[in-house]
Symmetry: C2
Amino acid sequence: MRFTRRIVELSRSLETPVLLLDRASLRRAYARVRAALPEADCYYAVKANPHPEVLRTLAALGAGFEVSSPVELRAVLDLGVPALRIMSSNPIKPVAFVQAAHAAGIDRFAVDSRAELVKLAHHAPGSRVYVRLTVDNSGSEWPLAKKYGASAADALQLLREARAFGLRPYGLTFHVGSQCLDKESWTSALLLCHEIWRELDADGIELQMLSLGGGFPVRHTRPVPSLKEIGREAARVLRDLFPPDRVELTVEPGRALVGEAGLLVASVIGKAERGQERWLYLDAGVFNALLEAIQGFRYQLRTERAGPPRRYVLAGPTCDSVDTIAQDVPLPELSVGDRVYFLNAGAYTLSYASSFNGFEPPRVVAFDDAPRLAREQLGEPDEAVALLA
Amino acid sequence: MRFTRRIVELSRSLETPVLLLDRASLRRAYARVRAALPEADCYYAVKANPHPEVLRTLAALGAGFEVSSPVELRAVLDLGVPALRIMSSNPIKPVAFVQAAHAAGIDRFAVDSRAELVKLAHHAPGSRVYVRLTVDNSGSEWPLAKKYGASAADALQLLREARAFGLRPYGLTFHVGSQCLDKESWTSALLLCHEIWRELDADGIELQMLSLGGGFPVRHTRPVPSLKEIGREAARVLRDLFPPDRVELTVEPGRALVGEAGLLVASVIGKAERGQERWLYLDAGVFNALLEAIQGFRYQLRTERAGPPRRYVLAGPTCDSVDTIAQDVPLPELSVGDRVYFLNAGAYTLSYASSFNGFEPPRVVAFDDAPRLAREQLGEPDEAVALLA
């Protein structure tokens, strides 16, 4: 979503913190993913933003959904999404979730351990299983490598054993880490998949699905590879290595679909000078919206003030020191009541949020295509608002 | 709350994750704080656990409340707590909160910046202000030093200026950091308070309140000083330095009141061997209950299994690697479905919790005095259950 005068005017009447959600931007992101990876079937990782407006918009486009808990499953089923458009890529699933998913007709589950095969054999017999592989996460800003993932050797063993458990060996998946900035991460992972695929083929085990996982980045303060570039690289490797008529290619984006569709509006609630530091306190912070800040995440910010940038420590509203969003943030001189806009903040701002200290997560205001509204109704250039990188 | 066979039996019929809340334990903790600091008026820091059962139990004992947001304020006012039993120690407060608190008759607010004096002058004229001082947080496991707090020089200036803003200079507060293990932290802070107090006295500004803040620790895996020891040390310093008839002493415990009253019950949902590591996955994790783990917090754990301890990496249920509770945790061999009990988990387990990935925070089951029930009804020793430190 672009930051326009229309956005500022729209948000002025709203109490903060508020997350503006542009459905048109979400639709464009879905189209971009489809265009970048035309062979791939797209499953939205619900954890990135489970708001009903997001799920409904994507469901209407025919997107699939990746879910991990009974709550996520119910949200998607309630929209009428058919079971064949749902899969579960969390390699360790609660029994209650497996039972509910199986009862709903879902038959595709990730695994990375023998205990999970046992669980699926018992609670979702006959299901198709795909192994989550450990791959390099060094290109990612929010690595996901250690907690899940089987080695190549373990993957081979799990897929060879699957039939003995009454399950169907189905495919491979991996996760290069969230907000991955290195497009080679996907191609290296595909090379590893190919080795396993070929070895199983020689055993007479024909895999079908290859999932590129998620991790596709959204622009914040550093340059990121485009989906198109990542897709082109992946397609080249796929074309060279995998039989085109036999691979069901899937992709599980979260942030790449919903990140740019959200704009977080916060207000300044206080200011203080502490030694050499100028602190600026907002009504949105680490606990109620910006948990990714604890790993050093930085957003692009906008304000309505002009003037030379000062360096601020940006903090949230709670009593807790962990609720410090970022050090050394350039912003013009701001006063209590001024607004601060966080761009591309649609992903993980609602889903990680708590109400710690009574400061509740942002409300969501959804609408269609704000930039177009701005041009048509106001006839003003998009950059009319004072901007600061 | 002690861990007894009765607790195990009680929780067996409950779905996990669940937080057992023992009101009798809460009442005993309140009595301990009162006994350790008999001169001090006790204000519960609502952020530690805002569950209605906690607030109701403490309100019935005549406790005061420390609140920071409209949500916390409303929760306390709705219980019929009078305004004179409520104060706000967050030095940076949203305008809407100040307005609501002032309208409710609350007139005691912490400050640590000039901008906050301006805000209070406008929205809560005539209020009593107390300055939050920066003090040493090196004895704390969850330090709170950087985000708030005025230097001694700034404190003097703020309290001298208060009258010019139509506010009343009232006192001093500080925070030694959450879960503070060094009892000297309080006495050093009191020495600093005394210097400021005396200097203002010489100017004809008579302060009244001295708040010892919070940070009183709860026993987890490391030994902690008792409330009694901390109280004795503080009383000695107070007796030597402050006029006994003129100081309103207050204390703002959170964890020290509610920590031991809560026992978190989780279930094993999966197991995996990853290289040399054994991983154990629970339905309670960093996002839905144990956020303090990100700063290295360790809880005492209990299970119902006997057997030699193995070393586990303990993780939560979500797709996210940040959802890893602790490395190298000694537990007996456990299976999917087994329960794991987190002792003294009443503080910050609900208030920090989100529903990330659809895994919801623990439900709360409140009751009275479980250990006594156990002895009376079962006639068994408390240690009948297989325990592991």
